[in-house]
Every structure is written in C-alpha cells, then in structure tokens.
Amino acid sequence: MPLLELDHVSYSYHSKSGETYAVSDISFQVEKGEFIAVTGPSGCGKSTLLSLIAGLISPNEGTIRLNGSSQYKETTNIGYMLQKDHLFEWRSVYRNVVLGLEIQHKLNETAAAHVQKMLETYGLARFADARPSELSGGMRQRAALIRTLALDPELLLLDEPFSALDFQTRLSVCDDVASILRKEKKTAILVTHDLSEAVSMADRILVLSDRPAHLHQILEIHYDKPDMTPLEKRSAPEFQKYFNLLWKELNTHG
C-alpha cells in the first residue's frame, strides 16, 4: 500500500471576482521512504497542493489517503516546512524547536531527549539557549527542520524551504536536509522551482502544468550511485541529462 495516495483531487479558491481553479484532477502515489519533487511554472498551485496534503484545506473533489485512510488529519503528524523558517525571536532556539511538541502536549522526557539528540547530531546543541537571530541562515533552516521532525511526522512537506537562502548556503543546507531525511528515514515531498534542486534531490519529479495545475508528467530519476549527496549528484553525468529533460518538459508544456 502506498503511504500517500491522491485520487482525482481538485481545488479552487473563491473570491468576489470569481473562482480560481488552482489544482485540477491530480492523481499520484508516494511510497514510503520516497523523495518526491514537485515542480512547475510559478503560481501554478504547487503550494496549494501541499496545503491540501497537509489537511489545511480540503479538496473540492477527489480524496487524499494516508496509509489508506482519508481521515488522517486528526491522527497523523505531517511535517510542513515553509519558505521561511519562522523561528520566533521571543523564544530560544530550544523553545522554538519544541514548539510543536508544546502545542500537542507531547513534551515529555522521551521527546525532549529525542530533540536534544537531534540538536547534537545537527550541530545546534551549543545554540540551544541562543536567540534565533544569533544563528546563520543555514542553522536556522536546520532548526526549523528539527522543529518539524520533533513531532516524528509520517510525511514531510517542504515548500521551497531553501529559496530564501543565498546560493552557497542553499547548496549546503540542501545536503544537510537530504542526509537528515535519509538518516531519519522520512518520506518527503519537496516543492521547488529550482530544477537543479529537484534533479539532485528527488527520486521522482512531478511536473505540473500552468494553472489550474494538473499533473503533466512524472519523471523518474536514477543515478548509478544513489548514495551520493545532492551536491555530488550535481556533477554526476546523469544530472545534465535529467536537467535538460526537465527543462524541455517545462518549456514545451508549462
């Protein structure tokens, strides 16, 4: 059984000036442990797709099932990383990281130990009592990731989480996140408009069309040595091939 299953999902926004179709008839499945990238022209409804999966909004038509159930919102944690880290300046790094646990009243000793371990593993233990403003952009994004992982989510949604970073930080945070997700054995869906990011991180790439977004194509990505980090993949021979393929797809149909 796939972990996540979208079945003919459509969604439209309502406003005074009319109805905007954001997502139209999208179906796909995600297996456990997969890394999916979603890409498409800007404003095509990629973020709407994540909000639908996260259960923040409900589809007008179609169903979304997690582990076979469409009533997953109450019972399952889905991690959601936004474009900006939104670490709250009035909380210390540690208190930011445990925000989700605090909200769900799950901040017990086991959870605190888990968080502590992640802070140590990902080089933030020293900054636990610091203010978010004392962290670098990359560290902030790692803290935001730990905040998401602290709730032990079944599925991770990443909504262009690197786009606010400068290029150099972006490459290294990309590597960090990829290795963290692999180590924690997480399933993830990454929304990005950066093609090289998609090609270097994902197992499969969903190409969406212009608004209303429908699924244009699914591109399978295979590297000879799949254990490479995203940065290493960027210099692998397959990278250019997939990049060009994706570029062509977007330009002919996007």
């Binding site: 944690n77 959601y80 939104h86 709250f88 009035w90 909200i103 769900q104």
Partner: protein
C-alpha cells in the same frame, strides 16, 4: 568584539563620540539654566510683570510652601493615581477588546466605522458630559482619562494583531495547533513590542484626559490647581503645576521605558 588592542584611529573615533555626547549634554543644560536666568532677571528688572508671568524663584517659593502644608502631595498624588488607574484600565480593556475584534472578524467589520469616528472625536468634548453623567468625582475623571486613549489603543492593537505574518499562523496550524495556540504562541508574544510602544503614547494621553477632567469637575489635583489658580490670579500655582505635570510625564515615560528594558532582557 575581539580583544585586540584598539587602533589609534579607532580610539580617536570613540573619543570623538564621547566628546560629542558631552557637548550635547552641556548645551542642553545650558539652555535650561539660561532660560531660568533670563526669566528671573526679566521679572526682577520689571521687563515683565511677575504677577502674571511668575518667576523661577516664585515657583520655588510656592512649591516650598505647599510642601510644608502638605497640599502639594495631595494634588500631585491624586493626579498621579487617576492617571495610573486610567492607564491600567486602558491597557486591560484595550487589549481585551482588540483580542475580541481579532477573534471575530465579523464583529470587527461591524464596529470599525464606530471606532474610527470615536477615535477621531476630540475627547475633551466628552468631559462635560461625563461630569454630568457620572458626577464631579474621581470616577468621571478616570473615565475621561480612559476616553482619550482607549479607541486609539484598540485600533492600533487590532491592526497589529491582523498584520501578523499569515505564514506564522500557518506554521501553528501545520503543527496541529488551534486558534487558541495561534493567539498565545504567535499573536500575543509577537505584539508585545507594539503594546509597549502604544503604552508609551497612552500614558501621556491618559494624563491629558485626567487633566481635562480635573479642569471641569474636581476639587483636587493639578488640573484643578491650574484652573483655580488662573481664576484667582495665583499664576504661581498654575506654572508650578505645569512644571510638576512635565516632571510626571517624564517620570511615567521613563517607567514604561524601564519596563521595556526589563522585558527585552528577560526574554
């Protein structure tokens, strides 16, 4: 900063800053002293009439005499008490009401024009009404103080609440939070700096309202002393009261500043 020895040019730069600050301080004090000296001399040389314009020495004399008969403590204390009470009520009622408006967008849509009109209304126009309705007592003066500051507080705080980054709210919902979590984890802590800056304005506004109230319906307080003094031509009282009001305004502002520093250090 690192611990290397400061270079000569940097030391000169730092010295320059210190000198500039000292110069500004000296000029400030000088202006004050010169003003007092000029005022005193003008009265002594009969350039202006001390009976109408008072003078620093007459103000000091009046102050000393009222200190001895303790009446100064009564008037200052009453005004201070009324100001602080109305200020506290403004903060409590204003925050509560702004939260209510944030919670119910429908209510805020309904009430918005009323709030805008009430905020724009010169509140001194209300003071005579309050005296008639509530009587010439402390209650109506406190209400007068509240009326000056409350509507602006509600509007500004509500705007602050509504301008919270929608993504920060979305974050709480992705962590399975409720509207209550949005309120306690994002909206309230996020608007504390705004609340403090609103409080800085409010404390002065409350003082204005209280003095207006005392003008019209009081038997005690600095506002009363100003009105009564002007009616019986004891202008020494009037000017002394104004000076005390200046000092109170400064003190109250400093108090909020202290609270702000404390908050910034604590968080």
């Amino acid at each position: 900063m690192d611990n290397r020895k400061t270079s000569v040019s940097h030391q000169a730069y730092l010295d320059g800053i210190t000198r500039r600050q000292r110069r500004i301080m000296v000029i400030r004090i000088l202006i004050f002293v010169l003003f007092l000296a000029l005022w005193e001399t003008a009265v002594r040389q009969k350039w202006i009439d001390g009976f109408i314009f008072s003078s620093p020495s007459r103000v000091l004399g009046t102050f000393a005499q009222m200190w001895r008969d303790r009446s100064i403590f009564l008037h200052t204390g009453i005004t201070l008490l009324e100001t602080l009470t109305s200020f506290l009520l403004v903060v409590l009622i204003g925050t509560g009401f702004a939260l209510l408006l944030w919670y119910s967008t429908e209510l805020s849509a309904v009430l918005e024009p009323y709030l805008v009109i009430l905020n724009g209304l010169p509140k001194s126009a209300l003071a005579p009404l309050l005296i008639v309705w509530l009587g010439a007592n402390m209650k109506s003066i406190i209400v007068a103080g509240i009326s000056v500051a409350i509507f602006g507080t509600i509007l500004n705080l509500y705007t602050g609440f509504s301008e919270t980054d929608p993504d920060e709210i979305k974050l709480i919902y992705t962590l399975k939070g409720t509207k209550k979590d949005v309120l306690t984890k994002v909206i309230i802590p996020g608007t504390v700096p705004l609340l403090i800056s609103i409080m800085k304005v409010n404390i002065g506004l409350c003082l204005v309202g209280v003095v207006i109230g005392e003008f019209i319906g009081a038997k005690q307080g600095l506002g009363y002393l100003i009105i009564y003094g002007s009616q019986v031509f004891k202008l020494d009282w009037v000017i002394m009261s104004i000076v005390i009001l200046c000092i109170i305004a400064m003190g109250l502002y400093a108090m909020i500043n202290c609270a702000e520093k404390l908050y910034l250090k604590k968080r």
